[in-house]
């Protein structure tokens, strides 16, 4: 920016870089690093707040007493340098430059005596710098903590005989039912696969009856009923048998009227 540099500032003989065609002859006064290391140096900043903190520390300034004009001038010098070195200049640096310029202009403006509650224009910047500084330091301390692979070496011994055992997944009833619900919703889209509301116990009994019937052998009808189950149980078994008959899974055989009825699994 067009601000005249203080006479005390040292100047070097050869241009350091070219900024908008003009040679940049001076290294910002607190930049005590060889020019060829500049790029690395500038890239080391973690952003505009980091750069500002650096500038403030280099001059041993209390954050609370930042001389805005001086800091702005130096900050802009760095931003110009970054441009000259074609460093990718993040928008954040320019936003910060604008903020500094704004603060500077507000400090120059006369202010009404009355408005004492109006904040010092630097206050917001100071707050942000302090907040950032806390976490910058916290990050440094975090880096100094012992950590695995550096100071902490956990023991993990080999166990040659150990074999990985794969266990089957667990399934909850809710999962099962939500799967069923989905199938039902899908099945209802095509009418002919509507799932009827068969009483479950009948279907379960169908499985049991089938299991009891040995292939090819006759089983006496009455053997399939367990009187201990009571009336309801007998009815369920009977319904199951009817269903099995309907599905042509079993056949009933009666040699003559009133002779014992036999049940047989159908064989092809």
């Amino acid at each position: 920016m067009g601000e005249p540099r203080p006479p005390s500032e040292p100047a070097t003989d050869r241009p350091l870089a070219r900024v908008r065609g003009q040679p940049l002859a001076e290294i910002p006064e607190d930049l005590y690093i060889p020019p060829d290391a500049l790029e690395v140096f500038l890239e080391a900043f973690e952003g505009p707040l980091d750069l500002l903190l650096y500038l403030i520390k280099r001059q041993n300034l209390d954050i609370l007493d930042i001389p805005i004009a001086e800091i702005t001038r130096q900050y802009m010098a760095y931003v110009e340098l970054m441009k000259a070195l074609r460093l990718e200049l993040a928008a954040e640096y320019l936003v910060m430059a604008a903020m500094l310029a704004e603060i500077k202009s507000r400090m120059l403006l006369p202010r009404p005596v009355e408005s004492e509650d109006e904040e010092d224009p630097r206050a917001e910047l100071v707050r942000r710098l302090q907040e950032y500084e806390r976490f910058r330091q916290a990050a440094e301390r975090l880096d100094e903590l012992p950590r695995v692979g550096r100071e902490l070496i956990p023991v993990h011994l080999e166990t040659p005989q150990a074999k990985v055992v794969r266990l089957p997944p667990r399934v909850s009833l809710t999962e099962l039912l939500s799967a069923l619900q989905e199938v039902m919703a899908r099945a209802e889209l095509h009418q002919h696969h509507r799932i009827q509301r068969d009483p479950l116990s009948v279907r379960a009994r169908m499985s049991e009856v089938l299991e009891r019937l040995e292939a090819g052998r006759f089983t006496e009808f009455t053997e399939l009923f367990d009187p201990a189950e009571g009336r309801a149980g007998v009815v369920v078994t009977f319904l199951a048998l009817l269903e099995l008959l309907k599905a042509a899974l079993v056949e009933l055989i009666q040699a003559e009227p009133f002779a014992p009825i036999h049940v047989k699994k159908k064989v092809a």
């Binding site: 011994l157 055992v165 266990l167 089957p168 099962l176 799932i195 116990s201 699994k265």
Partner: protein
Amino acid sequence: MNNEQIALIVEAALMASERPLSLEALARLFADEEPRPERGRLLEALEIIRQAYDGRAVELVEVASGYRFQVRKSWVPWIAKLWEERPARYSRALLETLALIAYRQPITRGEIEAIRGVSVSSSIIRTLLERDWIRVVGHKEVPGRPALYATTRAFLDHFGLKSLDELPPLPEVKDLEHLGERLAGLEEARPVEVSDGQG
């Protein structure tokens, strides 16, 4: 540096290393020492360590490429559970198949496919059979004599049910939200950790 110190450094190295360490590798730990402990002292250090771990759960052994600590064989069966892995979960297709077998048993694969509208892979049926959640209860007398599947006692055990009657009736399933509370009760009643291999 005395033998005890050498032994502790060797011990630390063997505990930290992912692979066995040879005598040469151990000697390199002391490369900056003056005088460097020679081979004999390293062997003495290893002997000190071996004795120190007498009666502990781990031991120092020598294998082809050097020395290492390992868990004593006698304790390995006790910690076998450390290597148990549970695959994340079953596929939707498997759960749907299982649900249809539970609610429509006995049922053939073709019938499941007709309802689901997609084919049921053999691996799903195999998984369910191996898990002992379903079994073949007969064959349907239609061409091809397809197997009829039904659920097992192990299936009931896994879901904490005494009988199939305890499965919620279909109309309720359609209204899963209202079913939530009832199910919560059922699932809480399940034993915390049932071993999976019910007979």
